[in-house]
Amino acid sequence: METPLIAISHLSKAYRRGDQVIPVLTDITFDIAAGEFLALIGPSGSGKSTLLNCLAGIDNVDSGSIVVAGTDIATMTESELATWRSRHVGFIFQFYNLIPVLSALENVELPLLLTTLSAGQRREHALAALSAVGLSDRTDHKPSQLSGGQQQRVAIARAIVTDPDIIVADEPTGDLDRQSAADIMALLGRLNGELGKTIVMVTHDQRAAEAAHLVRELNKGELRAAP
């Protein structure tokens, strides 16, 4: 079998409040193949966001390993993780999380500040990413001048502009109407199908989960294959 892009093994995480220990993730082991489009579902509070954050390198684990393309990110320092994220992961959030004072184009350009690209190249890349999400005509708009669906498309452009291997999305359609949600899912499907991005998405939305190739369900911190 081909080596998976992401190999998670015996991952556990708990929160301590006083002497009370609240387990959030319990001994989770699974692989994600390169080019996969995975949906994580499960009831509220089951640990979906926590798991996603761990494998995207923005939350730490108590024990276990997360090996991505041969390196265990669970043992990386904060600073190593920052570099790793900027090169390998694109993030999409439920509430878009664009910087309100910057235009769409500037928001997309932001992650490129951490690369060695020239200003001209950065602009070119950002314009290309915006055009890929169908927003070439909205480059100078502020987030407040865009609809929710358009803002999420700008966020997707920002997530792909550095050409990362992995895209993580936490409820990317959670704040959108049905049509906009469908557009976003179609876009993610294209990123996966045409550009071969590995996508890990947390969702509550049945329709959204259907767009994925594979669905896994978390329940009380334990993982099982979806029914």
Partner: protein, 385 residues
Amino acid sequence: MLLLRLILKNAFRHRLRSVLTIVGITVALLAFGLLRTVLDAWHAGVEASSANRLVTRNAVSLTQPLPYAYKGRIRQVTGVDIVAAGSWFGGVYLDEKNFFANFAIEADDFFRLYPELLVSPEEQKAFISDRKGAVIGRKLADRFHWRTGDTVTLRGTIYPGQWPMTIRAIYNGARPDTDETVLYLHWSYLDETMKKRAPDRAGQAGFFMVGIHDATRAAEISKDIDAPFVNSQAETLTETERAFQLGFVSMSEAILLAITAVSYVVILIILAVAANTMAMSARERLGEFAVLKTLGFRGPTLAGMLLAESLILSLTGAAVAMALLPPLANGFATGLAQYFPIFIVSRQTVAIGFGFGVMVGVLAAVIPAQRIAAVRIADAFRRIG
């Protein structure tokens, strides 16, 4: 460039709040600058004093005179070049509120003793040869529109009676801190008149100005001057002009201390205001900082961004304040001329003003910047989510 734009836009994101913070910093630094200028004005006499002049006065107190006869003894001390008797005249022009300093001085060596008073040779001669002549400062002349040849009558307070005199010379200060508001009349005019009006008060000098050419020997010469008068009727106290002037300043030490304290309290208050602005700003944008961290920006970079925002606000405030300070001080100077002949914003004050601008900017941002640098992404998202 993009990062710079982001910093600028964030600094003025809440326009009203940013403007109010800047205005606060401006007002505080203006107040600080004015208070410091007042302190400088108080010390102006000290700064303007010459290292080549000593003052010999009655050891008991400034108000006690010395016998004029001491002059000869002082003149004999090695190292002494010039001795001139002088008295605080305390004359009033028409009304008490027209106050200005006026001294009776021995004129012969006066202009040699005070090289910082610039007077043309013709006017010097005119003054010295007119026993009822007077020499006045440029600012005093401007204040009362006096010109050479004008007759001015002062009403004596310490020396009773009317004292008519003719303005024979107008001096300009050689240095910006030279006091141009003083009137000098002839000590001989004072003494000869007193001989007629109140003979027991004649032959007395308020002080002797002593010119020396070797300033490094000031302490020694002072001792030599005072030595012969120890245990006499009127013991003398000789000190440098600077120490003499400092003696005046130290009389108001408590006030000066209070002013100094207030000027620093003002800075502390504005620091609290600026720190509050930065803390609010950082807290509101915690989510945005978490997003930037997620994208790969490091804690120190984000802390630097907040620091830059803070400095933009504080330095804008400082720049406006330091631009407004000199004209404002000028306005005060005209109003306060009779109390503070020298009221000039020093370069040091401007430098310290900017220094405090930087300090306020940095200190206001320190704590929120640290918080932003240290916050964990997952925690930040949970707090806002």
